[in-house]
Symmetry: C2
Subunit: 587 residues, 2 copies
């Protein structure tokens, strides 16, 4: 410790919101170089190397072969698949001295596809899975939480190449199983959830989430075993309701009711239900105007109709509309569309099917708005609403959309019971890409009959630096980090306390003997640092075993304790090395 | 080999000029992704990992601690040291989504300086040496020779921090010694030459060159032990010559003599020497007009005066004028300076000291142009030259410059004999930076008296990917690569030939048993590939030992040979594993 390039900090960094960020900086593992861009100090690099080693071993065990692609790549392959545009401002773009376009790769589907196309030509060459552990770039709008959402980060990305769907399924399962082994070995709790493919394209994907209250991903699970990212939750569609005997729609004056809350109150006061119940927000149809930006920069307005008791979940909405990005429509856009009367929008004035205007604003409905459902909704005039408006009779949508928030208690789509919501950190994501990239880039091989067939692909990512952060989130207490033994920067933290030369000599002997037996030791040999500071540092750094050589030495004992336990064991000086070695072997 | 992601090529890639590039691509070690940007295939990555491991081990043995910096860095630190501008078009620059300036780091002096400033504050913290093995970027004007001059490449860069010059010298020597061990362990011949500091700044630097005819660096050495990069060669300055009895300068008509050759011929024909010898080019003073571009974009003309038998060496010139870049002046520039009469420029019309014009073109002299030397040179008018123009009497320079080419036979500056010239690949470069970066960025620590002192630094680089290329340059023959054992992608290449199942079974047994003994085996188990193709691939790939299981098996023998030898040894089947293992242990 007297030589190690590390300085622990007593104060939390000002920009640190989450424990992993706070503690990794305070304990001298990482250091901020720019927003979302970090430098790895010696202790951090040791942990990172251990995480990488586990990932690499399990990739190789799963039959994947390691390669390494550049981070700086030419535009053309990404142009061919449309991702140069689709990534929008998330992509770091630059020009070289000859004014040629380059990018810093956020992921490498294109390059792997082209490499395999370059080298392979026959079904006999497949299946093939390649991987790399590589530095990636993403110009996040809001880099946050330290390593959890960074702009330069380390990923393991793997890609599988198969001749048919069956092969892809097998390659996918092999990676899935490798991921389970990786996170198990790392001691990181995980949940596998169904996910949407997002910008990656493809047919099927699952995320590995590390449950954590600070996670950016919300996921749902049911007691019956269903689990999905909220973006992937499919709303069960209710049966249509007969509406032959439904009353006709009728417009009512509803002064001062631009919000759902005011509307419900007004309706209960002035137009009570006939069945004795109260109107609730769920009886209203809310119409939300959204402005989409397509990858080519073009803009489009859409209106989403959903039950008034649910908010639009922007992440679900964007997953449904990807690669377009969405935001609530602004005043300017309302001005351009006088038919959209803010606070009083109703389906009868919007939607191509309803208005007959082929160029009009699209109207997309929540799946719950099935034919026969009756709604109180805007009448497209200030202070007016329409009652008993029946879906399928009085209006239709131009399509449905999964945009409404998912709530605890909602039914699982597979009927396995009510959903509960939790948050998680995305630590892995596996995709069945199918033929999207192979088609765009012309990756074909000869099949057994000598016919050219397009290869089918999978892509599989582990956020290596994010995994390290997730480990820190899952393993800390108020005093600092509490690393699982296999990723800790050392096995044992030997602390010499006091000023007595005999103490330092004994501590050094313990450290040296443990090292000789293959135990990784961090030895705090700092001569003029108080015991209190040394203990605080040991707790902050989070090495799993702490050996204190100090006052007890006069009585022939050395203290051994586990970082996560309050128990202190006094071990005879001559036994301490064997004792500690045994504890380490049992890790 | 039937599973390995590799395809060997029979044809040289069209853009490959040098053996390492040609063979690394043909043998499936690397693949071009863009100009100067390469992808590492599994075999290449194995070799790279071995080179990196040696570098890392020797850095740690030398007391350096490993860290890892981002490649994507903000502009500000590089602005503070002036390198944002100095790097000119060699720097990859980009903007993030907030329009902030970033760069892809070509080297990390600034970041290391700031990190140490951030964490350390006392002389007690020093000495400190940090290193990283990291991907670096340089937008080369002419990326060439594969990995030798790339735009994305791997470097080991280390930085030392000391309180005083003595400490810096010790840190420098420790790195220098580590470099010697690294290249010795890698089996790579090297020469250490004195070098100039270039854009890095600082006081002293040495390069490690791997001698190679395709090297980009020319260096000199004398039998007496002097060695230097040509840029660093200091011309021995002759003694001044008394000129009291020298004849007065006289202008002569020399029609049609714009070149040195035509001038010498004319002078010998029309104005013969009085001592019976012939005039030679060495008697003429050539004045070369150069256009400099300074880092801030401003331009400047300078005239360099040197003996007519020597050319200007642009690399030496640029090293003398760094960070300015130079090129021969163009017609436009001559037009703006009518006093510069092309082909007939003489010192009397150029130079601030000669003309008295403080804003005029600077005139820089070769160190050989000492007072008393007499010259035939331009008279600043077409078809006119001046004879017996004496330096120090008739003209002076505004300074001297090391710009003339160095030639074989020139005297070594330290008097250790005539120089010979050779070419080398720069594989390492060590610098005593001194206080340049620490001053620019304010890195000070308290000294033993409690006074703030500026830290002195060194920087030390190994081009890791370039070392791999240098190894390939130094280790190949007409058939392919011939790796030194310690960096080869495997120790043994087992080849099964023919179609006999017994052969494949025996070969697999040998491969498996060798692997079990810790020998790294590449096993060519391809079922339908001819022996000729397999042998050619084995020679191309360059694994040091080749074991052929084939026809001999019927007679109970297996062939063992070294890649670089024509000798074939027939070993009894039961002995082959032990025999090969012994050879591998002896590597």
């Amino acid at each position: 410790m007297s030589q190690l390039f590390v300085r622990t900090l007593r104060e939390d960094p000002a920009d640190a919101e989450v424990a992993s960020h706070r503690l990794l900086v305070r304990a001298g593992y990482i250091r901020r170089a720019a927003p979302g861009i970090y430098t790895w100090l010696p202790l951090g690099l040791r942990v990172l190397a251990k995480v990488e080693a586990v990932v690499r071993e399990e990739m190789i065990a799963a039959g994947a072969q390691e390669v390494h692609f550049p981070a700086l790549l030419p535009r053309e392959p990404y142009e061919a698949t449309g991702r140069w545009a689709e990534y929008g401002p998330n992509l770091f773009r630059l020009k070289d001295r000859k004014d040629a376009d380059y990018l810093l790769a956020p992921t490498h589907e294109e390059m792997f596809t082209l490499l395999v196309k370059d080298l392979y030509s026959s079904y006999k060459d497949l299946p093939l899975t390649l991987f790399q552990i590589q530095t990636k770039y993403r110009d996040e709008a809001r880099p946050r939480a330290g390593l959890i959402r960074g702009r330069e980060f380390v990923m393991k990305d793997a890609y599988s190449f198969d001749i048919d769907d069956e092969g892809l399924e097998a390659s996918y399962q092999a990676q899935r199983a490798a991921y389970e082994r990786i996170f198990t070995r790392l001691g990181l709790e995980y949940v596998i959830v169904a996910a949407t493919a997002g910008a990656m394209g493809g047919s099927r994907s699952e995320e590995f989430l590390s449950p954590s209250p600070i996670g950016e991903d919300t996921f749902v699970r049911s007691a019956g075993g269903y689990a999905a990212n909220v973006e992937a939750v499919v709303t069960p569609v209710p049966d249509a309701i007969p509406f032959d005997d439904a009353p006709a729609a009728h417009v009512e004056d509803t002064p001062g009711t631009p919000t759902i809350e005011s509307l419900v109150a007004f309706a209960n006061a002035n137009h009570p239900r006939t069945d004795g119940r109260e109107w609730t927000a769920a009886d209203t149809l809310k119409n939300v105007v959204l402005s989409l930006t397509h990858p080519d920069g073009s803009k489009e307005l859409v209106v989403v109709g959903l039950p008034g008791d649910r908010e639009v979940d922007m992440k679900r909405l964007e997953a449904s509309l990807a690669p377009a990005e969405a935001e609530p429509a602004g005043e300017d856009e309302f001005k351009k569309h006088p038919e959209l009367v803010k606070g009083y929008i109703g389906p009868q004035a919007v939607g191509r099917a309803n208005t007959g205007d082929e160029e009009g604003v699209r109207y997309l409905l929540d799946p719950r708005v099935v034919p026969g459902t009756r709604w109180i909704t805007g009448a497209n005039a200030v202070d007016k609403h329409v009652f008993d408006l029946v879906a399928g009779r009085d209006f239709v949508g131009d399509g449905t959309i999964e945009a409404a928030e998912v709530r605890a208690g909602d039914p699982a789509p597979d009927g396995s019971g009510p959903l509960e919501l939790a948050r998680g950190i995305e630590i892995g994501h596996i995709f069945q890409l199918g033929r999207k990239y192979a088609e765009s880039l012309g990756l074909k091989v000869l099949d057994v009959n000598g016919k050219q067939v397009t290869v089918t692909m999978g892509s599989y990512g582990v956020g290596v630096t994010r995994v390290l952060a997730a480990l820190a989130e899952a393993n800390h207490d108020d005093s600092g980090l509490t690393w699982p033994a296999h990723v800790a920067p050392a096995h044992v933290h030997v602390v010499a306390t006091g000023k007595d030369a005999a103490v330092f000599a004994a501590a050094e002997k313990v450290a040296t003997e443990l090292s000789a037996r293959g135990v990784e030791v961090l030895y705090d040999d700092r001569p003029k640092v108080s015991p209190g500071v040394k203990f605080a540092d040991a707790e902050l750094l989070g090495v799993p075993l702490i050996v204190v050589v100090g006052r007890g030495l006069a009585d022939g004992v050395i203290e051994v304790r586990e970082r996560t336990s309050t128990e202190r064991v006094q071990v005879a000086v001559d036994d301490v090395v064997a004792h500690v070695e045994e504890l380490v072997r049992a890790f």
